[in-house]
Protein backbone atom coordinates (compact mmCIF):
# COMPACT_ATOMS: atom_id res chain seq x y z
CA UNK A 1 0.00 0.00 0.00
CA UNK A 2 2.72 2.36 1.01
CA UNK A 3 4.58 1.44 -2.15
CA UNK A 4 1.54 2.24 -4.29
CA UNK A 5 1.14 5.63 -2.65
CA UNK A 6 4.74 6.38 -3.36
CA UNK A 7 4.21 5.40 -6.95
CA UNK A 8 1.19 7.69 -7.28
CA UNK A 9 3.07 10.57 -5.71
CA UNK A 10 5.94 9.83 -8.01
CA UNK A 11 3.61 9.93 -10.97
CA UNK A 12 2.21 13.33 -10.02
CA UNK A 13 5.66 14.63 -9.34
CA UNK A 14 6.62 13.52 -12.82
CA UNK A 15 3.58 15.30 -14.27
CA UNK A 16 4.38 18.56 -12.54
CA UNK A 17 7.90 18.37 -13.80
CA UNK A 18 6.55 17.96 -17.31
CA UNK A 19 4.90 21.36 -17.08
CA UNK A 20 1.61 22.81 -16.03
CA UNK A 21 -1.23 23.67 -18.28
CA UNK A 22 -2.71 27.13 -18.24
CA UNK A 23 -6.04 27.47 -19.92
CA UNK A 24 -7.13 30.73 -21.51
CA UNK A 25 -10.73 31.48 -22.42
CA UNK A 26 -13.40 34.15 -21.92
CA UNK A 27 -14.77 32.54 -18.75
CA UNK A 28 -11.56 30.98 -17.44
CA UNK A 29 -9.48 32.17 -14.56
CA UNK A 30 -7.02 33.56 -17.09
CA UNK A 31 -8.69 35.55 -19.84
CA UNK A 32 -5.80 37.14 -21.71
CA UNK A 33 -2.73 35.74 -23.40
CA UNK A 34 -0.57 38.38 -21.73
CA UNK A 35 -1.70 37.18 -18.33
CA UNK A 36 -1.09 33.55 -19.21
CA UNK A 37 2.39 34.27 -20.50
CA UNK A 38 3.25 36.21 -17.34
CA UNK A 39 1.99 33.43 -15.06
CA UNK A 40 3.69 30.62 -16.94
CA UNK A 41 7.11 29.21 -16.14
CA UNK A 42 9.56 27.32 -18.36
CA UNK A 43 8.05 24.19 -19.85
CA UNK A 44 4.42 25.15 -19.30
CA UNK A 45 1.73 24.68 -21.86
CA UNK A 46 -0.79 27.42 -22.59
CA UNK A 47 -4.04 26.11 -24.01
CA UNK A 48 -6.07 28.76 -25.79
CA UNK A 49 -9.77 28.04 -26.21
CA UNK A 50 -11.75 29.40 -29.18
CA UNK A 51 -12.48 33.11 -29.13
CA UNK A 52 -11.05 36.42 -30.25
CA UNK A 53 -8.11 37.82 -28.30
CA UNK A 54 -7.29 41.42 -29.20
CA UNK A 55 -3.69 41.57 -28.11
CA UNK A 56 -0.31 42.59 -29.47
CA UNK A 57 3.27 43.14 -28.31
CA UNK A 58 3.24 39.85 -26.42
CA UNK A 59 6.77 39.15 -25.28
CA UNK A 60 7.79 35.59 -24.55
CA UNK A 61 11.12 34.84 -22.92
CA UNK A 62 10.29 31.40 -21.50
CA UNK A 63 10.16 27.97 -23.09
CA UNK A 64 6.41 27.81 -23.53
CA UNK A 65 4.18 25.61 -25.63
CA UNK A 66 1.27 27.65 -26.90
CA UNK A 67 -1.53 25.59 -28.38
CA UNK A 68 -4.77 26.85 -29.84
CA UNK A 69 -7.88 24.68 -29.69
CA UNK A 70 -10.32 25.21 -32.56
CA UNK A 71 -8.28 28.04 -34.14
CA UNK A 72 -8.68 30.91 -31.64
CA UNK A 73 -8.09 34.32 -33.22
CA UNK A 74 -5.32 36.64 -32.06
CA UNK A 75 -6.10 40.07 -33.50
CA UNK A 76 -3.25 42.59 -33.51
CA UNK A 77 -5.57 45.40 -34.66
CA UNK A 78 -2.91 46.69 -37.09
CA UNK A 79 -0.78 48.05 -34.24
CA UNK A 80 2.61 46.30 -34.21
CA UNK A 81 4.31 42.93 -33.80
CA UNK A 82 1.98 40.41 -32.15
CA UNK A 83 4.24 37.72 -30.68
CA UNK A 84 7.86 38.44 -30.09
CA UNK A 85 9.75 35.41 -28.83
CA UNK A 86 13.26 35.11 -27.45
CA UNK A 87 13.45 31.64 -25.93
CA UNK A 88 14.72 28.16 -26.65
CA UNK A 89 12.58 25.11 -27.03
CA UNK A 90 9.17 26.66 -27.57
CA UNK A 91 6.26 25.89 -29.86
CA UNK A 92 3.31 27.81 -31.24
CA UNK A 93 0.51 25.94 -32.90
CA UNK A 94 -3.13 26.15 -33.92
CA UNK A 95 -3.59 29.92 -33.80
CA UNK A 96 -5.16 32.27 -36.27
CA UNK A 97 -3.08 35.40 -36.11
CA UNK A 98 -4.44 38.41 -37.97
CA UNK A 99 -3.96 42.14 -38.58
CA UNK A 100 -0.32 42.94 -38.04
CA UNK A 101 0.73 46.58 -37.98
CA UNK A 102 2.49 48.18 -40.94
CA UNK A 103 5.43 50.49 -40.78
CA UNK A 104 8.06 51.56 -43.20
CA UNK A 105 10.90 51.74 -40.74
CA UNK A 106 10.18 48.72 -38.58
CA UNK A 107 9.55 45.14 -39.64
CA UNK A 108 6.43 44.22 -37.72
CA UNK A 109 5.58 40.53 -37.81
CA UNK A 110 2.86 38.20 -36.62
CA UNK A 111 5.55 36.13 -34.92
CA UNK A 112 9.03 37.55 -34.44
CA UNK A 113 11.61 35.05 -33.24
CA UNK A 114 15.06 36.24 -32.27
CA UNK A 115 18.12 34.48 -30.88
CA UNK A 116 16.23 31.26 -30.27
CA UNK A 117 16.99 27.58 -30.75
CA UNK A 118 15.01 24.37 -31.24
CA UNK A 119 11.53 25.70 -31.80
CA UNK A 120 8.49 24.75 -33.86
CA UNK A 121 5.88 27.03 -35.36
CA UNK A 122 3.25 24.90 -37.01
CA UNK A 123 -0.37 24.61 -38.15
CA UNK A 124 -1.11 28.31 -37.78
CA UNK A 125 -3.05 30.59 -40.05
CA UNK A 126 -1.95 34.13 -40.71
CA UNK A 127 -4.05 36.78 -42.36
CA UNK A 128 -3.43 40.45 -43.16
CA UNK A 129 0.14 40.31 -42.08
CA UNK A 130 3.01 42.65 -42.84
CA UNK A 131 5.73 40.12 -42.12
CA UNK A 132 4.31 36.71 -41.23
CA UNK A 133 7.05 34.84 -39.43
CA UNK A 134 10.29 36.76 -39.01
CA UNK A 135 13.20 34.77 -37.57
CA UNK A 136 16.47 36.44 -36.66
CA UNK A 137 19.77 34.91 -35.54
CA UNK A 138 18.26 31.56 -34.65
CA UNK A 139 19.10 27.89 -35.07
CA UNK A 140 17.39 24.57 -35.58
CA UNK A 141 13.87 25.94 -35.87
CA UNK A 142 11.05 24.45 -37.88
CA UNK A 143 8.27 26.34 -39.60
CA UNK A 144 5.70 23.87 -40.85
CA UNK A 145 2.18 23.65 -42.23
CA UNK A 146 1.33 27.30 -41.85
CA UNK A 147 -0.91 29.28 -44.13
CA UNK A 148 0.30 32.86 -44.55
CA UNK A 149 -1.88 35.25 -46.46
CA UNK A 150 -2.01 38.96 -47.02
CA UNK A 151 -3.59 41.25 -49.53
CA UNK A 152 -0.69 43.31 -50.75
CA UNK A 153 -2.06 45.68 -53.34
CA UNK A 154 1.09 47.69 -53.75
CA UNK A 155 4.47 46.42 -52.82
CA UNK A 156 5.38 49.50 -50.88
CA UNK A 157 3.57 48.30 -47.83
CA UNK A 158 3.99 44.59 -48.03
CA UNK A 159 6.31 42.30 -46.16
CA UNK A 160 7.48 38.74 -46.60
CA UNK A 161 5.67 35.59 -45.51
CA UNK A 162 8.49 33.72 -43.86
CA UNK A 163 11.66 35.76 -43.53
CA UNK A 164 14.83 34.24 -42.12
CA UNK A 165 17.81 36.42 -41.35
CA UNK A 166 21.18 35.14 -40.11
CA UNK A 167 19.85 31.68 -39.28
CA UNK A 168 21.18 28.16 -39.66
CA UNK A 169 19.87 24.59 -39.71
CA UNK A 170 16.29 25.69 -40.27
CA UNK A 171 13.50 23.75 -41.95
CA UNK A 172 10.65 25.50 -43.74
CA UNK A 173 8.15 22.96 -44.99
CA UNK A 174 4.59 22.46 -46.24
CA UNK A 175 3.54 26.07 -45.88
CA UNK A 176 1.18 27.97 -48.14
CA UNK A 177 2.07 31.54 -48.91
CA UNK A 178 0.16 34.07 -50.95
CA UNK A 179 -0.40 37.80 -51.42
CA UNK A 180 2.94 38.77 -49.91
CA UNK A 181 6.02 40.54 -51.22
CA UNK A 182 8.24 37.44 -51.11
CA UNK A 183 6.70 34.16 -50.01
CA UNK A 184 9.87 32.93 -48.33
CA UNK A 185 13.02 35.01 -47.96
CA UNK A 186 16.38 33.65 -46.81
CA UNK A 187 18.95 36.31 -46.02
CA UNK A 188 22.33 35.13 -44.68
CA UNK A 189 20.94 31.67 -43.94
CA UNK A 190 22.93 28.46 -44.15
CA UNK A 191 22.47 24.68 -43.93
CA UNK A 192 18.72 24.97 -44.26
CA UNK A 193 15.95 23.28 -46.21
CA UNK A 194 12.78 24.49 -47.87
CA UNK A 195 10.38 21.80 -49.05
CA UNK A 196 6.76 21.03 -49.83
CA UNK A 197 5.71 24.66 -49.87
CA UNK A 198 3.19 26.21 -52.18
CA UNK A 199 3.99 29.84 -52.85
CA UNK A 200 1.63 31.57 -55.27
CA UNK A 201 0.42 35.02 -56.37
CA UNK A 202 3.09 36.90 -54.49
CA UNK A 203 4.14 40.32 -55.69
CA UNK A 204 7.85 39.74 -56.02
CA UNK A 205 9.26 36.23 -55.54
CA UNK A 206 7.91 32.91 -54.41
CA UNK A 207 11.23 32.13 -52.78
CA UNK A 208 14.24 34.37 -52.47
CA UNK A 209 17.78 33.52 -51.39
CA UNK A 210 20.29 36.27 -50.72
CA UNK A 211 23.84 35.69 -49.46
CA UNK A 212 22.77 32.21 -48.31
CA UNK A 213 25.04 29.20 -48.80
CA UNK A 214 24.63 25.44 -48.47
CA UNK A 215 20.87 25.31 -48.69
CA UNK A 216 18.45 23.04 -50.50
CA UNK A 217 14.91 23.47 -51.73
CA UNK A 218 12.73 20.72 -53.19
CA UNK A 219 9.15 19.63 -53.90
CA UNK A 220 7.85 23.19 -53.89
CA UNK A 221 5.39 24.83 -56.27
CA UNK A 222 5.92 28.44 -57.39
CA UNK A 223 3.04 29.76 -59.42
CA UNK A 224 1.85 33.18 -60.61
CA UNK A 225 4.49 35.14 -58.74
CA UNK A 226 6.27 38.25 -59.97
CA UNK A 227 9.05 35.74 -60.42
CA UNK A 228 9.18 32.18 -59.16
CA UNK A 229 12.48 31.97 -57.34
CA UNK A 230 15.42 34.36 -57.18
CA UNK A 231 18.77 33.12 -55.98
CA UNK A 232 21.42 35.77 -55.58
CA UNK A 233 25.01 35.83 -54.37
CA UNK A 234 24.81 32.32 -52.93
CA UNK A 235 26.85 29.14 -53.21
CA UNK A 236 26.19 25.41 -53.00
CA UNK A 237 22.45 25.44 -53.46
CA UNK A 238 20.58 22.28 -54.40
CA UNK A 239 17.31 22.71 -56.25
CA UNK A 240 15.29 19.69 -57.23
CA UNK A 241 11.76 18.45 -57.97
CA UNK A 242 10.23 21.93 -57.92
CA UNK A 243 7.57 23.30 -60.24
CA UNK A 244 7.82 26.80 -61.67
CA UNK A 245 4.60 27.76 -63.40
CA UNK A 246 2.96 30.80 -64.93
CA UNK A 247 5.41 33.42 -63.82
CA UNK A 248 4.52 35.91 -66.54
CA UNK A 249 5.54 39.54 -67.00
CA UNK A 250 8.25 41.80 -68.36
CA UNK A 251 10.56 41.39 -65.36
CA UNK A 252 9.43 37.85 -64.70
CA UNK A 253 11.30 34.58 -64.49
CA UNK A 254 10.72 31.05 -63.36
CA UNK A 255 14.13 31.08 -61.76
CA UNK A 256 16.60 33.95 -61.58
CA UNK A 257 20.22 33.11 -60.86
CA UNK A 258 22.56 36.00 -60.16
CA UNK A 259 26.16 35.38 -59.07
CA UNK A 260 25.65 31.74 -58.11
CA UNK A 261 28.38 29.15 -57.87
CA UNK A 262 28.34 25.37 -57.62
CA UNK A 263 24.65 24.62 -57.74
CA UNK A 264 22.68 21.54 -58.78
CA UNK A 265 19.39 22.01 -60.63
CA UNK A 266 17.65 18.67 -61.12
CA UNK A 267 14.25 17.31 -62.10
CA UNK A 268 12.46 20.65 -62.01
CA UNK A 269 9.59 21.60 -64.28
CA UNK A 270 9.45 25.06 -65.86
CA UNK A 271 6.13 25.58 -67.52
CA UNK A 272 4.76 28.74 -69.15
CA UNK A 273 7.10 31.34 -67.73
CA UNK A 274 8.25 34.43 -69.60
CA UNK A 275 11.79 33.15 -69.03
CA UNK A 276 12.33 29.68 -67.59
CA UNK A 277 15.74 30.37 -66.09
CA UNK A 278 17.59 33.66 -66.35
CA UNK A 279 21.24 33.12 -65.60
CA UNK A 280 23.59 35.99 -64.87
CA UNK A 281 27.19 35.56 -63.81
CA UNK A 282 26.82 31.99 -62.58
CA UNK A 283 29.44 29.30 -62.75
CA UNK A 284 29.73 25.53 -62.31
CA UNK A 285 26.03 24.78 -62.32
CA UNK A 286 24.68 21.41 -63.42
CA UNK A 287 21.26 21.40 -65.07
CA UNK A 288 20.06 17.81 -65.24
CA UNK A 289 16.73 16.16 -66.06
CA UNK A 290 14.71 19.35 -66.07
CA UNK A 291 11.69 19.97 -68.25
CA UNK A 292 11.20 23.32 -69.97
CA UNK A 293 7.79 23.51 -71.50
CA UNK A 294 6.04 26.36 -73.35
CA UNK A 295 8.16 29.19 -71.96
CA UNK A 296 8.95 32.40 -73.82
CA UNK A 297 12.63 31.64 -73.40
CA UNK A 298 13.66 28.38 -71.79
CA UNK A 299 17.03 29.75 -70.68
CA UNK A 300 18.66 33.14 -71.12
CA UNK A 301 22.30 33.56 -70.31
CA UNK A 302 23.66 37.06 -69.72
CA UNK A 303 26.98 38.10 -68.29
CA UNK A 304 29.85 35.79 -67.64
CA UNK A 305 28.79 32.19 -67.09
CA UNK A 306 31.39 29.45 -67.17
CA UNK A 307 31.48 25.70 -67.01
CA UNK A 308 27.79 25.08 -66.76
CA UNK A 309 26.52 21.73 -67.97
CA UNK A 310 23.07 21.12 -69.42
CA UNK A 311 22.33 17.44 -69.81
CA UNK A 312 19.26 15.25 -70.21
CA UNK A 313 16.82 18.14 -70.17
CA UNK A 314 13.62 18.29 -72.19
CA UNK A 315 13.07 21.49 -74.14
CA UNK A 316 9.46 21.37 -75.27
CA UNK A 317 7.78 23.99 -77.43
CA UNK A 318 9.50 27.06 -76.08
CA UNK A 319 9.30 30.18 -78.25
CA UNK A 320 13.09 30.40 -77.96
CA UNK A 321 15.21 27.72 -76.33
CA UNK A 322 18.28 29.69 -75.49
CA UNK A 323 19.51 33.22 -75.68
CA UNK A 324 23.14 33.87 -75.21
CA UNK A 325 25.02 37.13 -75.38
CA UNK A 326 28.67 36.27 -75.38
CA UNK A 327 30.94 34.78 -78.00
CA UNK A 328 32.97 32.74 -75.57
CA UNK A 329 31.37 29.55 -74.49
CA UNK A 330 32.62 27.11 -71.92
CA UNK A 331 29.16 25.80 -71.20
CA UNK A 332 28.26 22.32 -72.39
CA UNK A 333 25.03 20.93 -73.80
CA UNK A 334 24.79 17.16 -73.92
CA UNK A 335 22.04 14.67 -74.58
CA UNK A 336 19.10 17.01 -74.29
CA UNK A 337 15.81 16.58 -76.05
CA UNK A 338 14.83 19.58 -78.19
CA UNK A 339 11.34 19.63 -79.66
CA UNK A 340 12.59 22.00 -82.39
CA UNK A 341 15.24 19.54 -83.49
CA UNK A 342 14.66 18.60 -87.10
CA UNK A 343 17.54 16.15 -87.56
CA UNK A 344 17.38 12.45 -88.28
CA UNK A 345 18.53 9.26 -86.66
CA UNK A 346 19.53 6.81 -89.37
CA UNK A 347 21.29 4.33 -87.10
CA UNK A 348 18.29 4.31 -84.72
CA UNK A 349 20.33 4.63 -81.55
CA UNK A 350 18.05 7.31 -80.12
CA UNK A 351 20.61 10.05 -80.68
CA UNK A 352 20.30 12.50 -83.54
CA UNK A 353 22.93 12.24 -86.24
CA UNK A 354 23.48 15.97 -86.72
CA UNK A 355 24.16 18.41 -83.89
CA UNK A 356 21.50 20.85 -82.68
CA UNK A 357 22.25 24.55 -82.35
CA UNK A 358 20.00 25.91 -79.60
CA UNK A 359 20.81 29.57 -80.18
CA UNK A 360 18.98 31.14 -83.05
CA UNK A 361 20.13 34.28 -84.78
CA UNK A 362 16.79 35.84 -83.96
CA UNK A 363 17.41 35.49 -80.23
CA UNK A 364 20.47 37.73 -80.69
CA UNK A 365 18.38 40.32 -82.43
CA UNK A 366 15.75 40.22 -79.72
CA UNK A 367 18.43 40.47 -77.09
CA UNK A 368 19.72 43.71 -78.57
CA UNK A 369 16.37 45.16 -79.60
CA UNK A 370 13.60 43.68 -77.48
CA UNK A 371 10.84 45.23 -79.62
CA UNK A 372 11.65 42.92 -82.52
CA UNK A 373 9.92 40.13 -80.62
CA UNK A 374 6.76 41.01 -82.56
CA UNK A 375 8.46 39.51 -85.63
CA UNK A 376 8.59 36.09 -83.99
CA UNK A 377 6.90 33.44 -86.13
CA UNK A 378 7.12 35.62 -89.21
CA UNK A 379 8.47 34.43 -92.54
CA UNK A 380 11.38 36.88 -92.30
CA UNK A 381 12.59 35.37 -89.03
CA UNK A 382 12.32 31.84 -90.39
CA UNK A 383 14.51 32.86 -93.29
CA UNK A 384 17.26 34.46 -91.20
CA UNK A 385 17.21 31.53 -88.77
CA UNK A 386 17.50 29.11 -91.63
CA UNK A 387 20.38 30.99 -93.22
CA UNK A 388 22.20 31.09 -89.88
CA UNK A 389 21.64 27.37 -89.50
CA UNK A 390 23.15 26.70 -92.93
CA UNK A 391 26.17 28.92 -92.46
CA UNK A 392 26.63 30.03 -88.84
CA UNK A 393 28.21 33.45 -88.41
CA UNK A 394 26.95 34.79 -85.12
CA UNK A 395 26.51 31.79 -82.88
CA UNK A 396 29.63 30.52 -81.07
CA UNK A 397 30.51 27.42 -83.07
CA UNK A 398 31.01 25.26 -80.01
CA UNK A 399 27.59 26.14 -78.64
CA UNK A 400 25.97 22.96 -79.85
CA UNK A 401 24.38 19.84 -78.54
CA UNK A 402 26.30 17.20 -80.49
CA UNK A 403 24.16 14.34 -79.24
CA UNK A 404 20.57 15.56 -79.14
CA UNK A 405 18.09 12.90 -78.11
CA UNK A 406 15.23 11.85 -80.37
CA UNK A 407 12.71 11.20 -77.57
CA UNK A 408 11.82 12.99 -74.38
CA UNK A 409 13.32 11.62 -71.25
CA UNK A 410 11.59 13.22 -68.29
CA UNK A 411 7.91 12.42 -67.99
Amino acid sequence: MKKNLLLIFGFFYFLSGYGNQIEVCGTCEVTTLRDAIEKAVDGDEIIIQPGVYKEHALEITKSLHITGVGMPVVDGEFKETIFSVKANNFSIKGLKIINVGKSYTKDFAAILVSKSEDFVIHHNEFNNVFFGILVEKSKRGRVENNFVRSESESQANSGNGIHLWHCSKMKVSNNQLTGLRDGIYFEFVKDSEVFGNNSYSNLRYGLHFMFSNDNAYFDNIFRDNGAGVAIMFSKFIKMYDNRFEHNWGTASYGLLLKEIYDAEIERNVFEQNTIGISVDGSTRINYTNNTFSRNGWAVTVIGACYENVFSKNDFLNNALDLSYNSKINTNRFENNYWSEYAGYDLDRNGVGDVPYRPVKLFSYIVHNTPETIILLRSMFVDIINFSEKVSPVFTPDNLIDSNPLMNRIND
Binding site: Y104, T105, S154, Q155, A156, S158, R181, E187, L203, R204, Y205, M210, F211, G226, A227, A230, M232, G249, T250, A251, L256, K258, S278, D280
Partner: protein, 147 residues
Amino acid sequence: MKKVFNTAFAGILFLFFSCDIAPEEINYGTDACSFCKMTIVDQKHAAQYVTIKGKQFKFDAIECMVNDIAENGSQKVGIWLVADFENPGNMVKADNAYYLISKSIKSPMGANLSGFASEETAVSTQMEYGGKLYNWEELLKKFDSGK
Protein backbone atom coordinates in the same frame (compact mmCIF):
# COMPACT_ATOMS: atom_id res chain seq x y z
CA MET B 1 -6.26 77.10 -92.13
CA LYS B 2 -5.26 78.88 -88.95
CA LYS B 3 -6.52 75.92 -86.96
CA VAL B 4 -4.33 73.55 -88.94
CA PHE B 5 -1.38 75.82 -88.40
CA ASN B 6 -2.04 75.97 -84.66
CA THR B 7 -2.31 72.22 -84.41
CA ALA B 8 0.91 71.77 -86.33
CA PHE B 9 2.62 74.37 -84.20
CA ALA B 10 1.42 72.66 -81.03
CA GLY B 11 2.66 69.39 -82.42
CA ILE B 12 6.09 70.82 -83.10
CA LEU B 13 6.17 72.38 -79.65
CA PHE B 14 5.23 69.02 -78.15
CA LEU B 15 8.02 67.30 -80.04
CA PHE B 16 10.43 69.98 -78.95
CA PHE B 17 9.57 69.64 -75.28
CA SER B 18 9.32 65.87 -75.33
CA CYS B 19 13.00 65.74 -76.26
CA ASP B 20 13.79 67.14 -72.85
CA ILE B 21 15.30 64.46 -70.64
CA ALA B 22 13.09 63.64 -67.73
CA PRO B 23 12.96 60.73 -65.35
CA GLU B 24 10.19 58.22 -65.93
CA GLU B 25 8.15 57.06 -63.02
CA ILE B 26 9.13 53.75 -61.49
CA ASN B 27 6.43 51.10 -61.70
CA TYR B 28 6.92 49.36 -58.41
CA GLY B 29 6.39 45.65 -58.75
CA THR B 30 6.89 45.45 -62.51
CA ASP B 31 10.13 47.28 -63.31
CA ALA B 32 13.35 45.38 -62.81
CA CYS B 33 16.56 46.82 -61.46
CA SER B 34 18.98 47.62 -64.29
CA PHE B 35 21.91 46.40 -62.23
CA CYS B 36 20.81 43.35 -60.26
CA LYS B 37 17.63 42.38 -62.17
CA MET B 38 15.60 42.26 -59.01
CA THR B 39 12.04 43.54 -59.22
CA ILE B 40 11.86 47.03 -57.75
CA VAL B 41 9.50 47.03 -54.78
CA ASP B 42 10.94 49.22 -52.10
CA GLN B 43 9.78 52.82 -52.35
CA LYS B 44 12.19 53.92 -49.62
CA HIS B 45 15.34 52.72 -51.32
CA ALA B 46 14.78 52.98 -55.07
CA ALA B 47 17.09 55.02 -57.29
CA GLN B 48 17.24 55.99 -60.94
CA TYR B 49 19.22 57.90 -63.50
CA VAL B 50 18.59 59.23 -66.95
CA THR B 51 21.42 59.57 -69.44
CA ILE B 52 21.99 62.74 -71.43
CA LYS B 53 20.37 60.95 -74.37
CA GLY B 54 17.28 60.22 -72.30
CA LYS B 55 17.80 56.53 -71.62
CA GLN B 56 16.22 55.39 -68.38
CA PHE B 57 17.94 53.30 -65.74
CA LYS B 58 16.08 52.23 -62.62
CA PHE B 59 17.44 50.53 -59.52
CA ASP B 60 15.93 48.78 -56.55
CA ALA B 61 18.56 50.14 -54.19
CA ILE B 62 20.88 53.12 -54.03
CA GLU B 63 23.83 50.72 -53.74
CA CYS B 64 22.88 49.25 -57.11
CA MET B 65 23.01 52.67 -58.77
CA VAL B 66 26.31 53.50 -57.09
CA ASN B 67 27.78 50.15 -58.15
CA ASP B 68 26.52 50.71 -61.68
CA ILE B 69 28.25 54.10 -61.76
CA ALA B 70 31.43 52.58 -60.34
CA GLU B 71 31.35 50.07 -63.20
CA ASN B 72 30.18 52.19 -66.10
CA GLY B 73 31.28 55.69 -65.16
CA SER B 74 29.10 58.74 -64.66
CA GLN B 75 29.93 60.76 -67.80
CA LYS B 76 26.69 59.94 -69.59
CA VAL B 77 24.41 60.59 -66.65
CA GLY B 78 22.06 63.58 -66.99
CA ILE B 79 19.88 63.31 -63.92
CA TRP B 80 20.23 61.06 -60.93
CA LEU B 81 17.67 60.57 -58.26
CA VAL B 82 17.31 58.60 -55.07
CA ALA B 83 14.26 57.86 -52.95
CA ASP B 84 13.75 60.01 -49.89
CA PHE B 85 13.56 57.62 -46.96
CA GLU B 86 11.27 59.97 -45.07
CA ASN B 87 8.72 60.21 -47.93
CA PRO B 88 8.60 56.80 -49.60
CA GLY B 89 8.06 57.06 -53.35
CA ASN B 90 9.47 60.60 -53.55
CA MET B 91 12.57 60.92 -55.67
CA VAL B 92 15.12 63.63 -54.90
CA LYS B 93 18.34 64.72 -56.57
CA ALA B 94 21.12 62.33 -55.62
CA ASP B 95 23.94 64.85 -55.40
CA ASN B 96 22.06 67.05 -52.91
CA ALA B 97 20.86 64.19 -50.76
CA TYR B 98 22.30 62.87 -47.50
CA TYR B 99 23.03 59.21 -46.94
CA LEU B 100 22.98 57.01 -43.90
CA ILE B 101 24.49 53.55 -43.61
CA SER B 102 22.97 51.97 -40.55
CA LYS B 103 22.80 48.33 -39.56
CA SER B 104 19.29 48.75 -38.22
CA ILE B 105 17.81 49.98 -41.49
CA LYS B 106 18.08 47.26 -44.10
CA SER B 107 18.17 48.12 -47.77
CA PRO B 108 17.35 45.67 -50.58
CA MET B 109 20.87 44.72 -51.62
CA GLY B 110 22.49 44.43 -48.25
CA ALA B 111 24.38 47.73 -48.00
CA ASN B 112 22.01 49.13 -45.35
CA LEU B 113 22.06 52.41 -47.21
CA SER B 114 19.24 54.97 -47.18
CA GLY B 115 18.93 58.42 -48.74
CA PHE B 116 17.44 61.56 -47.21
CA ALA B 117 16.33 64.84 -48.75
CA SER B 118 17.09 66.92 -45.69
CA GLU B 119 20.13 66.87 -43.49
CA GLU B 120 17.91 67.30 -40.44
CA THR B 121 15.99 64.06 -40.90
CA ALA B 122 19.19 62.25 -41.83
CA VAL B 123 20.77 63.35 -38.56
CA SER B 124 17.68 62.58 -36.49
CA THR B 125 17.44 59.13 -38.07
CA GLN B 126 21.10 58.59 -37.31
CA MET B 127 20.43 59.53 -33.68
CA GLU B 128 17.63 56.99 -33.53
CA TYR B 129 19.17 54.06 -35.39
CA GLY B 130 22.90 54.70 -35.32
CA GLY B 131 25.22 54.44 -38.30
CA LYS B 132 27.34 56.78 -40.36
CA LEU B 133 26.36 59.73 -42.56
CA TYR B 134 27.75 60.38 -46.03
CA ASN B 135 27.26 62.94 -48.73
CA TRP B 136 27.09 61.98 -52.39
CA GLU B 137 30.81 62.34 -53.16
CA GLU B 138 31.83 60.44 -50.05
CA LEU B 139 29.38 57.71 -50.92
CA LEU B 140 30.72 57.31 -54.46
CA LYS B 141 34.23 57.18 -53.09
CA LYS B 142 33.29 54.57 -50.52
CA PHE B 143 31.81 52.21 -53.12
CA ASP B 144 34.65 52.81 -55.54
CA SER B 145 37.26 51.92 -52.95
CA GLY B 146 35.25 48.90 -51.92
CA LYS B 147 36.12 47.27 -55.23
